[in-house]
Symmetry: D2
Subunit: 425 residues, 4 copies
């Protein structure tokens, strides 16, 4: 079933040193055009505008997740319960888990009502090179891989390797994002963690003796969330990006005549996107349109694109979402000042973003971490670790108001004066 390559292939990888490929199946999957497309989708969306090193793609992350799972497979090869089917399934699912991501997923999904999980499924099951390669294993194999990624597969053990609170996905992205941004958080002892993993009945468990290594991993995650993923400058870029998409969509709906037809966006605007259209989307396409839209007639679209491309972002202030009066007053003053608040004023809460650091049972269906006690009992991590308990129990509130400070500061009307005072500018 698992044909080996004549000679192992390797990719040089700055995070894991080398990515090793021994099976023809994996090699062929990497060579498909749907997988190569991930080279053109940035792993961290707009984060490169805050941390200039964050220019790495989902391609390298996907290889990294695969490599972690490959190493786990190597360690698990000593357990009889871990058979070749598990090996095959887990490596393919690891490699392909993000294949349905498009450019700037977060904003695109919200504005155009998309779900990358749908596209992942379509790419694996549809008329694609990936599907062709997978079907060489068996007719039903693509479905199995898709089920593992969708967390609906009956083999819970394999699912937990790809989607749990300590899965290969997260381990790779924490290490990788830390490496490329250059922040010193995000490092943890992955070698140790892999060594204390055990295949439990229906989930991966961690030997009790590895608890501190896991604590360290959870803390890395916590730090990365607040230091990198929720960084307000990144969110500012994300706000502008969303506004551009909203504006373009609205203009299209109103029959606006674009100078060059944004054909790649048509099915998005109609919220009826085919797999074929989806596969043509990547960061280059989006940036191409944003660039030419800098010369559009519509002042708002033009201005927002100019801001995004040249990194003239919105500023922000802390804001209490309960101050509805202030919000209303600001909104009206923006209008009065001729600065359309629907595009130039936004309240963004980090809780809008996926809440992710450790909280068992929440954040969709990600499985909690269980520790394997010496006697064989299992204990959920936060019951054993005070540190994890401490940071998982509390909800962090962080609300900010985003706006174009330059426009406001140059204004001289009563309205802008009022805005300045409300925002303490």
């Amino acid at each position: 079933m698992l044909e080996r390559l004549n000679e192992e292939k390797v990719f040089k990888d700055p995070v894991h040193r080398y990515i090793h490929v021994r099976y023809r199946l994996i090699w062929e999957l990497i060579g498909t055009k749907e997988f190569q497309r991930l080279r053109r989708v940035n792993q961290l969306g707009t984060t490169y505008l805050t941390f200039h090193g964050a220019e790495h793609s989902r391609f390298s992350h996907s290889l990294g997740v695969y490599e972690i799972v490959r190493r786990i497979n190597e360690i698990f090869s000593q357990y009889e319960s871990w058979d070749e089917e598990n090996r095959l399934l887990s490596m393919c699912a690891a490699l392909l888990h993000d294949v349905g991501h498009g450019p700037f997923s977060h904003s695109f999904e919200k504005v155009f009502n998309l779900d990358h999980e749908d596209f992942t499924r379509m790419i694996i099951l549809g008329d694609t090179e990936i599907n062709q390669v997978l079907r060489k294993v068996s007719e039903g194999f693509p479905e199995e891989v898709a089920d593992v990624i969708a967390k609906t597969h009956t083999n819970k053990l394999v699912v937990s390797l790809i989607s749990s609170q300590i899965d290969a996905d997260r381990m790779d992205y924490l290490l990788r994002d830390a490496y490329f941004t250059g922040v010193s958080y995000g490092h943890f002892d992955i070698e140790r963690i892999l060594r204390v993993m055990r295949p439990g009945g229906d989930q991966i468990v961690i030997k009790q003796s590895g608890m501190h290594a896991v604590e360290d991993y959870i803390m890395s995650r916590y730090q990365m969330y607040w230091q990198v993923y929720f960084h307000p400058v990144t969110r500012s870029a994300e706000v502008i990006l969303s506004k551009i998409l909203h504006r373009a969509k609205k203009l299209y709906a109103e029959g606006y005549a674009f100078k060059q037809e944004p054909v790649h966006f048509y099915s998005l605007f109609k919220e009826d996107i085919s797999l074929e259209d989806f596969l043509k989307l990547d960061d280059s396409v989006v940036k191409f349109y944003f660039q030419i839209w800098q010369e559009e007639d519509d002042a708002i679209l033009r201005d927002l694109c100019e801001r995004f491309m040249n990194r003239r972002l919105f500023k922000y202030v802390e804001f209490n979402p309960m101050q509805m009066n202030t919000w209303r007053e600001l909104y009206d003053s923006f209008k009065e000042a001729g600065i359309d608040p629907d595009y130039y004023l936004e309240m963004d809460s980090s809780s809008d973003l996926p809440y992710d650091f450790y909280r068992p049972g929440e954040e969709e269906e990600r499985l909690p971490i269980h520790l394997l006690k010496p006697g064989g009992d299992l204990r959920e991590l936060s019951r054993e670790s005070e540190v994890v308990e401490a940071i998982s129990g509390k909800k962090r509130t962080d609300h900010k108001l985003y706006f174009p400070q330059d426009l406001i500061l140059e204004g001289t009307s009563d309205a802008t004066r009022r805005i300045k005072s409300l925002l303490n500018l």
Copy 2:
């Protein structure tokens, strides 16, 4: 002259840990749209197709070169001869030295007869935001910065900081490219080198005691050239890229009707490109066209773009350029087999690429490295170091033939059989 910011700004950088900005001038230059454009130009062209981590941009490299020069300035501040003018000039030149680079410079420059140095000059002296910022120092300042970058400035000391065999440019790119590709060569003790640098009369010199650190730097360079920069897979991608550009140019000249007008390429095709047009070029634009050209009617353009976008590169064999008969026979057989040799057969010599590891007095006008002996004498490095002498004296020959192995292997004609035999396939 050098207005300081209220508070120092920092960029997190994975190579130098932090990039420090203390002067408003530098901060404003970074904020210009011409500088921000460098975010959309990959530092290493097609290398990401060989080393997937090499997705970093000229933006981060430019910041890195600036930071190295800033640190040298800090050390040099103890020397009276190193005045504020030198400080100002060197930091601006460091930051802007690559600002004239477009997407995939090497191939674009060859196919369209461009020179990034011309564009650097035009951007600094022309009607740009960068020019506006620089002119705040003085009317003549942009010219001075341009002259330093062009190596024509009379202040040879500052020139040598930016362009010599051990300049800030190379020091940053070796460290940065090693970091992002993940190779272990490319590291050297930059802290030590900065500490042994001294401002000589008209060039930066290195204290004799630092010779071994410099040897190590030269060796890193040697290794990076052969391991990364001249990697045959990268060159294969570069070959295909050039062929695409040639084909599109030829089609345009022949009046071919593109499905979507490649307006961004028009002035390139005519070899008459304005600054305005140039500034619109970036990696996104190129990749956008390459993507849509995958659906063009012209079979060659379509095929080449499909190869580039999906990384279906040409294979290669070693080839002795003296075997003109073999070349001729191959060329004719390709023709006969219906595989146009002008687009599908290429001999590439790494000596076509800039010869760069240490050889004093060659490679344009890069200045050699001089060691400062205890008594005050200067000695050219390769006269003191056997290692450097050894690797700088000899020319390395490396010629390869690139071709689409897949097309040839699937052929069954006499011609393809002949090709296979000639190439030992």
Copy 3:
């Protein structure tokens, strides 16, 4: 006052890359024989028996603390309030803060009733080379340095640099101990922390924006305590070491005739140790005696030394200190089995060791960390950080019983059978 060296001296340091010395005073202090003696005192006592890389000395740690303070001084040089006196005092105190440590301090201090702080004071104020060097500054300068180290100096700001919850001492030892043991905890972004430090009125404060970096540092500390400093194998070696010292002391008191007179221990045994005698103690001396004591007539001393030198440590089990009956039964059974429980059975609680991870106001007089809010207000760290609050509030209990498993397993008497059952062997 602060004479500079003709040329800066540097030490290559694996943790801080380089240690820079610019002042003759510092250079001369490092050259004194009392400071050189620190090369012969291991930084982590018996930890090398658990983590074989932990063979670094207090010498390199002391240089590291000095280097951190030197860097802080460089940053603080922009504040007028930070004058040359502060600079001088802080660097000397940093360099000398551990100069009173002897070999295996923890056990020696407990068994022989010593306090390294007394010796530090005696070395700085007594008839030593260090005193001579310091007095070149002024007659009263040694006293000042000693006061800073003793935390009694009126300049609280300087004191807090050397002794607070985030002082240079801890920052160096966490980084250094992590480096040499090879564990991945212990790393934090020291460059960032140094950049957000500010000289407050009577203490160093941390800008609010640096809170996450400080959290990360606190977490590193927490992890290092449980993973490295309190490691049960290290404690086992410490238990044996203490027992050796106790036994030798007792034998001496009883008039036992050592084969070779342990002259270096005499004043320790009498608990009346002079500065001169103290300065002769180092790891070599201790290990020399432990080696020759392997051939002593006293069976207990001989056996314990043989265990220590050849790393045949005691095993351990978790133990509830409330089980006094079990303890009593064990103790009696050991006696009955002819295994002297005073030397072969020990209950060790990690809380006997200095409780150190963040808890403001406790652990002697270490100062808590204060954050500087944008408006200028100060807030104690654990009030702002949930993570710190979480881990600082709770006391961790960890009690273990140490014993020679080999002796017990080879026993066949009723008593040993009882012991095995009580210890679950």
Copy 4:
């Protein structure tokens, strides 16, 4: 034959991250007292007086060599020719190759006419715990291990793993010594090198494609030799150390009455050392005596020990060994000035030290490196690599004169004036 442990044991190692032990045999060898003794023998002799981080022991180096061989075994497990006997032999030989080293080997061997290889053999074959453990494999096994280490075993393949120009010994010490000293040379891509190693007929060969990685390794070695191993300050300490040993030996021969009998040195002085006596020697013992000798009556012994312990080393100047007249004049002037030249004047040439960087066929019997060409041919490395050819062909001369500058500077006689002039002081 190779009984596995119930559970793999690991040592945390800063260089290789983890040292893995799976076989009981290896675990028991590490636990022997002869192997534990290596904890008390510094890996780099007096280098810690130049690079303060170099405090690591031969214990950690030995584990490192073992770990490299273990990894090679893992890779070689795919080759049928690499059987269990090779596995067993190579791992034991790797672990034990340095077991016969005593304290400060280089000087001790020269002064007392010792050879650590003899002791290695005696320890493996004699009445030791190591011998007992090895004999569990078979009666003849200790002999086999000793033969591999002595390079006399008929299995040349295994020998070349332990002793060749690119053996596990060197790979570990370069990486380890670089790590602990903190220098940036010494790093090379060991993972790559291990991957391109192949078991040839009677030696390990390197795939041609790995040539650059090997070049990088050779360069690291070259740099480490000149930057670390031959550092003149280290050599100065080594000179003093030798002089101490010479003096003590001479005093003993003359019947001098030491205040405390140096029993550990007696058999050394007589050049008739037994295995039992040898095993008692370690760094602690040597430093213990050097410390107490600081209070001896003999002025020379006292002074030299004081210099060594407090790092008051000899200074040095470059010296041309052909200037015999100058040497003679210096020697006489030292005598005249009352500074015994036999102990206070030394000419040291680095060529006295083992010449080690790559030169095939020299340096005892270390085997050269062979590259495996694609067709199966072997080529000696320096025939393929210009870099290696360059640095291996030339002999580097480096002669220095060492002397106590302090004594000379404080002298006022005609003789000291003459010395100052001859030495340019």
